[in-house]
């Protein structure tokens, strides 16, 4: 999200809206990327994101090749470079990269002339997630600018939080982040408009509430006795929603730990747009592939 201008983001979101229409048709197929080769290189397992990119590519008629590399052979920078050089030599048009190391897609992009899309790298960025979040907000609120958005949970370790803080700031949103002190990154004040450790305070007047997935193995390091204790302090409940705006919406990047970071009543209520996020994920990825291969956006996203 760091590389994108507000105009880029608007263009992607507008194109995503058109692309969503293709998935709503009876014949979910456009010939746009016929004869293009897309490699899905997932060095970290992720059925959802891989499937979303695969469906996006196929609905635009591209040839999609999946490569799931075990972390081992790709952990050394050198062999990753070698692998990428080899893939590039097979003349793909675009490589989608999921990697556990921060910055791996950016490195790959420097090594190759091929277009590279970041599908999530370590704790760094997850740009298509941020774009699908903004698309979902835009569908519901008709605008982004000026909205109050709360992002809460393990801010420090979340690439979703990071990409959204960067992207939403560019779109003029008013960002509040909330989490236990041990889960807030250094210099978080520079990335968000408000920072608090009280979820009850954070949600007051919110238009958008975005939960993050908690990785339970991190709770111990964060000095929480257990998931129940975490949930008591940082789990989103109906009582929080009453303090938000009456038409506030709730997002979650999934998969959800129900009863930990978010209560079942909240997930299933009418304010939940969690499944719209998934639907919009395919649309945003179609738009990304289309703009990078069919029209002209910059090389790395």
């Amino acid at each position: 999200m760091e590389d994108l201008t507000p105009e880029d983001i608007s263009q992607i979101l507008n194109t995503s809206k058109l692309m969503k229409g293709i998935s709503e048709r009876d014949v979910k197929k456009a010939p746009t990327l016929r004869g293009k080769t897309i490699i899905n290189m997932f060095a970290e397992p992720s059925t959802r994101t891989r499937t979303s990119f695969e469906i996006a590519g196929k609905r635009l008629s591209a040839d999609v090749i999946n490569i799931s590399t075990s972390g081992s052979s790709m952990s050394k920078g050198e062999s990753l470079k070698d692998m990428v050089a080899n893939l590039e030599a097979m003349r793909p048009d675009l490589i989608v990269v999921r990697h556990k190391s921060d910055g791996a897609p950016a490195m790959i992009s420097r090594w190759t002339n091929c277009t590279v899309v970041n599908a999530g790298d370590g704790r760094h960025e997850h740009p298509t997630q941020s774009l699908l979040d903004m698309m979902t907000i835009l569908e519901s609120k008709r605008k982004l600018e000026g909205l109050n958005v709360v992002i809460f949970g393990d801010i420090k370790n979340s690439r979703v939080a990071r990409s959204n803080m960067i992207g939403m700031k560019k779109m003029g949103m008013n960002i509040t982040v909330c989490g236990p002190k041990t889960m807030l990154p250094l210099y978080v004040e520079e990335m968000a408009d408000n920072v608090t450790t009280s979820l009850a305070d954070a949600v007051v007047g919110a238009d958008v509430i975005m939960a993050l997935r908690i990785q339970t193995e991190r709770l111990e390091k964060a000095k929480f006795p257990n998931a129940r204790e975490y949930s008591r302090l940082f789990g989103l409940t109906l009582s929080h929603l009453k303090k938000a705006k009456h038409n506030a919406i709730v997002l979650h990047p999934g998969p959800i730990n129900q009863g930990i970071e978010i209560s079942p009543e909240v997930v299933e209520g009418q304010w939940s747009v969690v499944l719209d996020q998934v639907t919009n994920g395919v649309a945003v990825r179609m738009a990304t592939l289309y703009l990078l291969l069919g029209a002209g956006l910059q090389k790395t996203e």
Copy 2:
């Protein structure tokens, strides 16, 4: 097979015959399901069935996405529900489900508006296997009604046996089941016309003999000293075939344990239609996909 009427079964078998023609062509491709998205969700490994469904979908021009979920993350009902909701949000047209738990595809079908095809669930049903078995019998015998069919082996644990008992009864076939007492289910008399523990008795006058795959780890529970002992009592040999009708045929759902449930001479003889079953498997799956997505059959099969 429980949901299908005899008319449904006839319609699928007639359509399968047309579909088989596509696989015999030089250009094995029809544009029928262009723009449809099919997800192959295999929570239990099965190269054969997955490949059969994948080929069936691609020959009809659908986009086919494979998802192989390790049993672990899907063993909890809740996360399976969550996963299915997420897949549905990506707007597939049909989900093919193989699962180790009885009833998982039916549950999934209730959770989603998407069409669901059962590709084998636990010890419950394997409907496309039963349909391909009946197609193979029909090709050879020109009819189903009134035929004497013997199903023998581990009846209790076999979803193939169960789907066939249900389906063949609907088509008016005369069903004899045979196996050691410990491998016969409760109330088997209600599902079959004849029940016996003697294979020599069972095969007398048979038109169709269907072997089941024995899972050797089950022999011990069934109080058999070993595979050789089992084979002596419940392995199909040439001497059995002599008691069947002179033009009897032999089926097996594969993969075969040669020399255990069936002798090599029987597998390789002219009565064996085992490979026709595999060929017809692709045809039946093409028909299933076509009727559920192109024409109008009921939602769950």
Copy 3:
């Protein structure tokens, strides 16, 4: 390569040149193999070769199905035969086979009427690798006949070396093989024009230098104290290149152990055609699929 005549090889190389053009286009797609079903059966993991065949098939519009069988279930000859019979019954047009056992693709070819392509079997052959090597040499040198080629490293265990010795001899190339005595096969003199254990001697006057990948676990058996010692004696360096012809080229089948069988300066120099080999790999595989399915070459390659 043993089955191919020099005319066959020339025909494949000429066709590969045409096929390479398709991968250079904006729309990398030809309708040639539309309606053909290709099964990639990889019983040994190989992301590169599998990806190369998958891209080749898809660029020619074939339906490509990947099957990765764990070695276990396929180690028994009988179950491999059974599996192949089953795959054939699904009416694929061509099966690409990678297998750890010498001769497995040839066996499979005898068992089936289906066209079989060897994608590397044990220490026996890797014909498409040899063809892509010759294509790369031809691109650079405009001819094959009369060229001096050096193949060095673990000759005994390399299917790449074996296929190239057979193929290059047919094309009239002058072959020198070089490696430690323990890595030279019996009767190597019958397969190569010159045999030496000195890399410095081997490269004198060479037009083409082909490194092989060393499997470090084999060094111990070959009585080398370690990789550094091996590298000192059998690693290709700039000083070797000075003894070769001034326009000599360097090939490597990948993946490269930089600093062991070849120094980084050599890999990155202008004489290195390693990435051209990868690009040509897709072209050679497209040509192979096309000639076997579209035009008329013999059944097994």
